[in-house]
């Protein structure tokens, strides 16, 4: 396998409702990424792009539709399609294209436009569930995650206030991200007192549905070294699929992520992730998920995460800043694009280019993660400088 680096990154603003079509959003992210490393479309050997359920953009076979906006015209182009995990999965997918020796460069572009869905994107989730045993009960993701959140809290004696701390942390970080749609901090009280959606999930426990796109350019080692003094190496990738009979999983621990993280760490030669990783971008569509995923990523002992969070371990100036980007809670959650945004964040943070939200102390190793499909897929990327 060849060494692969991220050499460019870019994204659109994440907004409630964009005028741009999915193609145009993809173009803006892809073009910004190419401009960031001074390349033209001719320098791109292949495209790995992603968008989650077709229903959000409202275009069946959305991959083909958005290919030209992703730079895929007349190039080998392949779509990744694993729901919320798509954004990081696409990085692993693009990495494979280059590491294998087949291509020298790969443009990875992920996009989501959730505002097309009427009256609300949640309506489209019904059809991902088992049509016989679950759909008659009219499930939506809020109450599916409520079941998981409740089980997680019960297992370790956590409270809603404990979970809200993660929302407060990430939303505060997000205020400094130029692509974020938010202007105000929230407090634990704001989160806990926001409207109940499905107990124990309140409105501010959840990341906002958004439109947006994000992209990175991957290059093989010799090309990467020629293009930049600061390539950000993909040290490891991992992905796993747990059972789709999700009620048979231990809802308090993300086993799907445990495996994916270990795969990525093994590839990266990391033995003690909780000591070696400098910054973490766990997938945080809900506040409890950020904490749940830190445990699955082996970055925090099970049941000790809230204690560490309260002690400032995951703060911007702590030992392991959590979601310096602001994450999905702080920037927004255009599904597939949100995971790629996390990889972009590693790129900017590790190069020391994150501006106002730069993590102090020259971070050298970071991990980004996403999660999705029938809530049982996770993908992980470890990046280092």
């Amino acid at each position: 396998m060849r060494k692969v680096a991220m050499v460019g990154a870019g994204m659109t603003k994440f907004v409630r409702r964009a005028l741009e079509t999915p193609k145009e959003l993809s173009y803006e992210a892809a073009k910004t990424t190419l401009d960031s490393c001074g390349l033209s479309l001719d320098d791109v050997d292949c495209v790995a792009h992603g968008t989650a359920p077709d229903a959000f953009d409202g275009i069946h076979q959305n991959g083909e539709y958005m290919a030209c906006g992703s730079g895929g015209w007349n190039k080998p182009t392949m779509r990744v399609f694993v729901g919320g995990a798509t954004g990081v999965h696409a990085i692993a997918h693009g990495w494979y294209h280059v590491a294998s020796g087949l291509f020298d460069t790969c443009l990875v572009v992920c996009e989501e436009k959730m505002s097309s869905a009427m009256p609300h994107a949640q309506g489209f989730f019904l059809t991902i569930f088992d049509s016989i045993t679950e759909r008659p009960l009219q499930p939506n993701l809020l109450w599916i995650f409520a079941l998981e959140m409740n089980r997680y809290m019960e297992r370790y004696g956590y409270t809603k206030e404990d979970m809200a701390l993660a929302a407060v942390n990430n939303k505060r970080n997000g205020l400094k991200h130029p692509a974020s749609q938010f202007t105000d901090e929230v407090t634990v009280d704001d989160v806990v007192n926001s409207e109940m959606m499905a107990y124990p999930v309140s409105r501010l426990d959840v990341s906002p549905v958004s439109d947006g796109a994000a992209a990175v350019l991957l290059a093989a080692e010799p090309v990467a070294r020629r293009l930049t003094d600061k390539p950000v190496w993909i040290e490891g990738v991992g992905w796993t699929l747990d059972t789709a009979y999700w009620a048979t999983r231990d809802l308090s621990y993300p086993r799907y992520l445990d495996k994916a993280a270990r795969m990525a760490y093994d590839m990266a030669g990391i033995r003690e992730p909780h000591k070696q990783i400098d910054i973490a971008e766990p997938y945080d569509p809900f506040d409890y998920k950020a904490l749940h995923h830190l445990e699955g990523l082996q970055l925090s002992p099970r049941g000790k995460t809230v204690e560490l969070l309260r002690d400032g371990h995951f703060a911007m100036d702590g030992n392991m800043p959590m979601c310096p980007s602001g994450g999905l809670l702080g920037v927004g959650n255009p599904i597939a694009a949100a995971g790629t945004m996390k990889a972009c964040e590693l790129f900017w943070q590790l190069r020391g280019e994150a501006g106002e939200r730069q993590v102090p102390g020259n971070p050298r190793l970071g991990v980004a993660q996403a999660w999705g499909d029938l809530m049982q897929v996770s993908s992980v990327v470890v990046a280092g400088i």
């Binding site: 409702r17 964009a18 005028l19 741009e20 079509t21 193609k23 145009e24 173009y27 892809a30 073009k31 190419l34 033209s40 479309l41 001719d42 229903a55 409202g58 030209c68 906006g69 730079g71 015209w73 007349n74 505002s115 097309s116 869905a117 009427m118 009256p119 309506g123 489209f124």
Partner: protein
């Protein structure tokens, strides 16, 4: 495995289920940055706009904000142009069935109309199915301005010149 129903003779196969007339999900789309401009010109001025990438020598119709071949940004002020309202039939079909499968009284004509390097898909009028030919020159006929809503149906149809 139990099969509850099967069709064994090819001749019995059917393509429509007239009972299925609704699909219980909805999407609301935006026209996009390019679409917003394109349809404004269509509605307000009765003009069809394309956008040209000089580097690739391609004129896209409908106009777009980027060239898919080289990723150049196509600016409205610099790279967009009025491509006129005439084109050529690139291909056509006569549609004999409604979308729910019933036979139409008269077949309706649909054409792919080539304008510059792009294609507009639209209805054909003023010509019988047996008279249509590929390569025929056609012209867009617009709805009266006060009926135009900023959509592709602001063009009523294309008609042979």
């Amino acid at each position: 495995m139990a099969i509850l129903e099967r069709i064994t003779r090819n001749i019995d196969n059917r393509y429509w289920d007239p009972g299925t007339k609704a699909f219980p999900v909805k999407n609301r789309y935006t026209a996009g940055v390019a679409g917003q401009w394109f349809f404004e010109e269509l509605k307000e001025n009765g003009k069809i706009y394309g956008s040209r990438c000089e580097d690739c020598a391609v004129t896209y119709v409908p106009a777009r904000i980027y060239c898919e071949r080289c990723f150049k940004r196509l600016e409205k002020e610099k790279d967009w142009l009025d491509v006129g309202t005439e084109g050529e039939i690139h291909s056509f079909t006569a549609v004999h069935r409604t979308k729910t499968g019933e036979e139409k009284e008269e077949p309706s004509l649909v054409a792919a109309v080539k304008i510059a390097d792009g294609l507009l898909i639209h209805r054909l009028a003023g010509v019988k199915p047996e008279q249509v030919e590929i390569g025929m020159k056609v012209k867009a006929e617009f709805k009266p301005k006060d009926e135009r809503q900023g959509g592709i149906e602001d063009i009523k149809h294309f008609k042979p010149l």
